[in-house]
């Protein structure tokens, strides 16, 4: 670690040119809440840390424009909690933020950091995935937008190229007949790496008793990778909101999940919980919309 270099660029353009030409092993650091413990445990050994924390003013924002919510990559979890917009249909973001870590972590952990680490321990990823969010990736050669569902490709693996930095997360807030909900389970009440964390965006038809569409994401769907559960979502589309639907949807989810055991809990238990939460999330969303509970 003593040969580690730290580069704090003056602006984004400077940063992008740096990583474009740098051939050493570069890791981007914002808050360090994920990176620092992993370096300490010698799980990773970057040669250079690219410090983007000073881009605070450029990358730290919560904006609503033209019907889309833009979260700058350096928006902290505390910023999400303090924002007036994450209520009602967007309450899922607040719900996840409230159960995220502890105050000291929330004050520095960033949206970008969460998403880029692509780990099943990162609470915000399923929420953003369920919302159909996209990641804007910037590089010296241009920008591109990647839907979050395509962004994470494996355990702690993303489609990001070494020359790219994530600048913002964008999503359209769910519309009139939509509601969102979130659940998390761990070994204790707070400061936990979740065993299961699950987010749902449910949209009902105008009759408020039939599901138009659903978007479901979990911290682990197959292996240890956060992802959408599209089969379950697809099953729900067009079905009536009732016990029979929920019961069958739970079975679809169980078949869609392929969860392994680890020291926090078994795959079988996590699968059970995911199913229980599915029912809760559907019922909660439906009830808030004035539909059946």
């Amino acid at each position: 670690m003593s040969s580690l270099e730290l580069y704090s660029p003056t602006d984004l353009s400077d940063a992008l040119h740096f990583i474009e030409r740098e051939d050493k092993n570069v890791a981007v650091i914002a808050s360090g809440t994920d990176l620092m413990p992993r370096m300490r445990k010698r799980q990773i050994s970057p040669s250079v840390l690219l410090d983007i924390s000073s881009f605070r003013e450029d990358f730290r924002f919560i904006r609503q424009s033209e019907g889309a919510v833009h979260l700058g990559a350096l928006t902290t979890v505390s910023d999400l909690l303090e924002s007036p917009i994450f209520y009602g249909r967007l309450s899922v973001i607040r719900e996840a933020a409230m159960l995220f870590g502890a105050p000291q972590i929330r004050n520095v952990a960033t949206v970008g950091g969460n998403v880029c680490s692509a780990a099943s321990s990162e609470d915000l990823i399923p929420v953003f995935m369920a919302l159909g969010a996209e990641a804007r990736l910037v590089s010296a050669r241009g920008d591109r937008i990647v839907p979050l569902k395509d962004f994470v490709v494996g355990k702690r693996a993303t489609v990001m190229r070494p020359s790219e930095i994530l600048s913002e997360i964008v999503f359209a807030p769910p519309g009139g007949n939509s509601w969102t909900a979130y659940e998390k389970l761990g070994r204790r009440n707070m400061l936990i790496v979740a065993m299961v964390n699950e987010a749902l965006v449910l949209t009902l038809e105008d009759d408020l008793s039939t599901i138009r569409s659903a978007s479901l994401a979990l911290n682990r769907v197959s292996g240890k990778v956060p992802a959408l559960a599209p089969k379950t979502a697809q099953f729900l589309a067009g079905k009536k909101v009732d016990d029979a639907t929920i019961s069958r949807a739970q079975k679809v989810l169980a078949s869609e999940l392929s969860l392994s055991d680890d020291f926090r809990g078994s795959g079988a238990y996590r699968t059970e919980i995911a199913q229980v939460y599915l029912k809760r999330l559907i019922e909660r969303c439906s009830q808030r919309l004035g539909g059946p509970s």
């Binding site: 413990p37 070994r187 204790r188 009440n189 707070m190 238990y269 059970e272 919980i273 229980v276």
Partner: protein
Amino acid sequence: MSEQVSELLDSLRAKAERGDLLYIGESVVRVDSLEKVLGSPVYTADLIPKGTVYAKLFHSSVPHGIIKRMELGQARSCPGVLGILTPKDIPGLNESSAVLPDRQLYADPVVRSTGDILGAVVAETYPAASDAAARIKVDYDPLPAIFDPLDALKPDAIRIHQKGNIARQMKIRKGDVEEGFSRSDVILERTYRTQFQDAVPLEPEVGLAIPEDGGVRVIGSMQSPHHTQAAVAKVLKLPPEKVHVIQAVTGGAFGPKSDETPFDVCSTAALAAVKYRRPVYCGLDREDSMVMHTKRHPFVITHKTGVTSDGMLVADESRLVGDTGAYASLGVFVIVRATFHTVGAYEIPNVKADSFLVYTDNTYSGSLRGFGGPQAIFAIESQMEELARKLGMDPLEFRLRNMLVPGKKSATSAVMDGSCGLPQCVEKVVASSNYREKAARYRNQNGNLRRGLGIALLMHGNSLGPEGNDYGAVHIEVLSDGTISVGSGLTEYGTGAMSGIMQVASSVLGVPLSRFKLERPDTSKHRESGPTVASRVVVIGGNASKQAAEKLRGRILPLAAELLKTDDKRVTMVDGMAFDRRKPSAKVEWDTIVAEAYRRGVGLKEEGFFMAPPAPWDQEVGQGTPYVQYTWGALIVEVELDMSTGYYTLVGAHAAYDVGKAVNPNGVLGQIYGGTVQGLGYAMMEELLHKDGAVVNPNLGDYYIPTSMDIPREFKAFIVEVPGPLGPFGAKIIAEPPIVLPGAAVRNAVLNASGVSVDDLPVTSEKVLMGMKLRQAPRTH
């Protein structure tokens, strides 16, 4: 006489009437509170002088094997490295063991766990030492490893130590269990398992050694400075006087800091200090601490219990197997305490127990608050719950029918005397928790959220009991400015016990605690007083302190009497003033008396010494009086459980402990809250896991202890006072007892809420839900 003076004298007089109980039972401010809220630099890491170098211990990467070769070259040539300590660098004995001589400082050539220390890198900075340590490569000839203590007992098991895998065995033979079973209407046999718990003192183990005067001065975080001194002296081949050990303010201990790790850390620092002629800091980071220090012994305990159909216990046969890992450490006494407490707070006429302390290749276990009690009580209290269910009896009624009260006999046939305050404790918690009404209501629940109550009762033998001579010394010296300086080899590490024994002295001398000062335990100044363990400070240290104070009062009173021109017998000391009871307007202040003493050359330094009476017991049959007194207690926990997930939260905890006499009630409550929450962690969420002998979760992100969000929503704690024969003013110990009951109380509450019996700790939501699925219990899904 003016009104103010008259009021003052009235209040003095009123206080004087309390006699010896002046200040006892008052929640006075602890002597060491101020430095803690000021964040004063008084812990070992705050005392590092300029020029200090750093030692980082490195440990085995295999659970059982023989070291073939250690590749140190790469590490040695890392920048900043001064050298690497290995067994070759030990001038004395390569030993670091607390009881049995079964453990080396640096394992060589046999390693028996991944926690075995192999040596230390010494470098200019901690990161340099750490980086270098990561570059050390060791080749081993692996040996077959054992991780299950039951496997270690098999006849064909590989011997982990030459003398075999059983480090200690114990027996209890009371009455005739076979006869008892033949008379029993119901017999129940079940096996219970407990897990590795880590103490998690927030300050890990650290030591600082400074070469001095042909020897070395050692400052560290520890529970037993004299034991550390002896250990370091042995390693360095120095006479003990040349190893000067001082206990720095210690950030929590809970047991492991009275076992080998302070020896390891301080011996290493001392070796390096002498070798390199520099001050050396050897500190464990959290991961090292969790891998290398002692844990709570996991136990496998089987009970076969016979009971009559009207709920009287007739016979109990238990088998206890404790996994002590690679080395016995204090396990040799943990097994003893566990065995003596195998039937808990109940009278059973026929008791048979066989217990085994067994070696495995897991990391080793030793002292941890409760010391065998939590494991033994988890098993018996779970068994009691299962028996009640089988009998169709209310769990409280069943316990009341069988619990120890004055006149009844323990498992060792000791007769409980009038100092048994168990019934009072039970009464308090039953009333506080509204048990009877709730238990009836909770018998019929539908819905997804269900509540349950769980009870556990405590009997906890006080102090070292049968572990050896139980003694302590305290000296008190009055300084020329009137400060009362108290010193002892007994240590403070958060319990407030040392402040408590000073409060005892304060009571005897009639001077407020604010005039007292606690000396840092120092082997060059204070007499060896045994280890500060077993919650023994209030009882052993308290008596010694009382004695020293009484001797001092014997010198002060005559002097005060002279100054007051009256007779000794008419003098009372209160609030730092001596006055003539018959002429209260005549008073003289403490500082004046002290000044006079100094003027006259009257010595104001006294030592008190106390040794507990022996605790005789017959080793062949485990009968006798292994403890001179007991602390009693009761805990009722109420949970609210989500039947769909198995997850539960703590609605309430109601605890009562008979502490004989609460010297400082706020302090006693602090121990009850803190110990209970640590026990709740053990019950609900804590487990240090090994996989193929390697610790899986040696960090606080993967090993969970309770946060402020996990504590019971409501916690009602009660102090019961039934004076005991041993401690000052009848005091009994309190530091360990509160950690003992939560395991079973939570387990039983969860059973009553969900119908699921979880027989292995911790009681996780997964075990509850999977238990429900196995039973196909009805649940709302």
